[in-house]
């Protein structure tokens, strides 16, 4: 059981080439990538809205698409549920009608099933309203109710929170997790937001300009993205081209820095990454330390973001900044060895 796809499609600026396999895995699978990287195209290929140039797609052992056997199932026959970014509720139908039209059953059953989903999504009171009168969050719930009512074998969520404001977003993420737990099929979630993907997905695929640059269990990928593009997309702010000097020494020319490593430095390393939160303020120079000339200091509600002249980002919680640092910018930042990401330019092997 599960989804398997291996497809290729030439798009305007990039060639999408992606392999996804959820067979034998539980939970939500995420696809992370910047806009235009091909992640929505991937979902649309599965749904049948877009036709790949080459490849194969199968869902629960049913072949949906295959260029070798010339299989190309109609969208209607694929049973791939798609939650659109703008929800795509039918504006001329009430919420109840929107849900009922998606149910494949007899008329009497339809109304019963619709009741169930209206209840599940807490939409009972809104069932006779038109979508235009619903808030963004309510529309999302209605769209989710509708897609679940169609009983798809895979549920695909395309940037489900991008149209919502920050407060609502967090609330709905929690709600969504609860609802999705009751769904038995595969779930694919596409987003450019690393917090969303980290919070919601058990496994992720990272796409960069149409190519797969990382995949695996979410936490493992975030801990060791391995590739520059993957590091950047998982939110690593400090990435510097680097050169191996010896088995335990590497150089980052852009930061004017040599790093001594306990770990052996891999041969194919082309860059190192260090997440902005992991830099440690220190009062005096030492090994693996950066002398800081502070260029910009930005204050967020709970965090200070500071950028040095070399372009290194440092983030520190306000609490630490107020109490431990007494609101003084440190002269040096130490790079803890265990936080250093060894990175390559390309995916290999």
């Amino acid at each position: 059981m599960g989804l398997y796809l291996d497809i290729e499609k030439k798009l305007k600026d990039i060639t999408l080439k992606v392999t996804i396999d959820t067979r034998g895995h539980q939970g939500i699978t995420g696809i992370l990538g910047a806009s235009g990287c091909g992640k929505s195209m991937t979902l649309k290929s599965i749904a049948g809205i877009v036709r790949p140039d080459r490849g194969t797609i199968s869902l629960n052992d049913r072949v949906l698409f295959d260029t070798d056997t010339k299989t190309d199932l109609k969208i209607q026959d694929r049973r791939a549920g798609y939650l659109f970014q703008n929800y795509a509720l039918f504006p001329n139908m009430t919420i109840r009608e929107n849900i009922q039209i998606a149910i494949r059953d007899t008329a009497r059953k339809k109304s019963e099933i619709a009741d169930f989903y209206l209840e599940l999504m807490k939409l009972k009171e809104l069932s006779d309203r038109y979508p235009a009168r619903l808030s963004g969050g309510q529309q999302q719930r209605a769209a989710l109710a509708r897609v679940l009512a169609s009983e798809p074998e895979v549920l695909m969520l395309d940037e489900p929170f991008s149209a919502l404001d920050a407060y609502l977003k967090e609330l709905l993420q929690i709600e969504l997790l609860d609802i999705l737990k009751t769904y038995r099929g595969d779930i694919l979630l596409v987003t450019h937001n690393r917090d969303e993907i980290y919070r919601l997905c058990d496994r992720i695929y990272i796409l960069d300009e149409g190519r797969l640059v990382a995949s695996g269990a979410t936490k493992l990928v975030f801990n060791d993205p391995q590739v520059v593009a993957a590091a950047r997309l998982t939110g690593c702010k400090n990435i510097g081209p680097a050169r191996k000097i010896s088995d335990h020494m590497l150089e980052v020319p852009g930061w004017n820095l040599r790093l001594k490593m306990e770990r052996p430095v891999p041969d194919r390393l082309t860059a190192v990454g260090i997440r902005a939160h992991y830099l440690r303020p220190v009062p005096a120079a030492g090994s693996n330390c950066i002398a800081c000339r502070w260029d910009k200091i930005l204050e967020d509600p709970f965090e200070i973001t500071a950028i040095t002249g070399q372009g290194i980002w440092w983030k520190v919680s306000k609490e630490d900044w107020n109490h431990q640092l007494k609101r003084q910018m440190p002269a040096y930042l130490k790079i803890p060895e265990e936080s250093i990401l060894f990175l390559k330019d390309q995916v290999t092997g």
């Binding site: 749904a47 049948g48 809205i49 109609k74 969208i75 209607q76 694929r78 049973r79 791939a80 549920g81 798609y82 659109f84 703008n86 795509a88 509720l89 039918f90 504006p91 001329n92 139908m93 039209i101 998606a102 494949r104 038109y130 979508p131 235009a132 009168r133 509708r146 897609v147 169609s150 798809p152």
Partner: protein, 222 residues
């Protein structure tokens, strides 16, 4: 006062809009579905021509087709004993050809404005194409289609040039209101022409206004 032009005009415009309305919608759907971009552009140009050319040019081409000695005209005459040129049918034909681009363009615009994601949503939910068209696309496109229908109807009602060319100006048979106005003015009967003018203004205004009211009411899915 001869009121036959009023009747002929209303009959002509009604018959013409029946044809134009459905043909315009069907052709619009068809053109949208064409994938080759250059074929689409060319076809769109040809279908729009009657709108931008002088009606007499359209009339000229039509006469070329349906004259008794011409292929289409000959075919109808030999097999059905129907003479299209200079008959009431010709007034309808002229109105259809001239008003068609308005209907076609409005319908096409209305269909293309429907959010394609709604169609995809319908398809991924498993709705048949038929259901998607009637329950999703049509309700969305209806206001645009109706206003196209109003434009096409009033244009058909006001058709003059092509009608004069292929149907002539036969009193009681092919003399529509616009032709009657022209004839009366030419004969110096300004008063009779004036009556016809007020009738055509009133009918047109009534229809445009009435349809707008319906469209406004239908629109509100809130």
């Amino acid at each position: 006062m001869d009121y036959s032009p009023v009747l002929i005009s209303l009959k002509t415009a009604a018959a013409a809009i029946l044809i134009t309305f459905f043909a315009g919608i069907a052709v619009a759907r068809w053109v949208i579905s064409i994938r080759q971009e250059n074929v689409k552009v060319l076809l769109d140009g040809v279908l729009t021509l009657p709108l931008v050319l002088p009606p007499t040019v359209a009339g000229f081409f039509l006469l070329y087709l349906i004259g008794v000695k011409r292929p289409v005209g000959q075919f109808f005459f030999t097999y059905f004993s129907i003479k299209i040129a200079f008959s009431w049918a010709a007034t309808v034909l002229a109105a259809v050809v001239i008003s068609f681009p308005l209907m076609y363009r409005s319908a096409r615009g209305a269909f293309e404005q429907v959010d394609q994601n709604l169609v995809y949503a319908g398809q991924t939910l498993g709705l048949s194409e038929w259901k998607i068209f009637w329950k999703v696309v049509m309700p969305q496109a209806l206001p645009g289609i109706l206003s196209g229908g109003v434009l096409a109807f009033t244009r058909g009602l006001g058709e003059f040039g092509a009608t004069a060319m292929i149907a002539g100006n036969i009193a009681g048979k092919t003399r529509t209101l616009p032709l009657a106005i022209y004839s009366e003015v030419a004969a110096g009967n300004m008063e009779a022409a004036g009556v016809y003018v007020w009738i055509i203004v009133a009918v047109s205004l009534l229809i445009v206004g009435g349809m707008n009211l319906i469209a406004v009411k239908k629109q509100s899915f809130r």
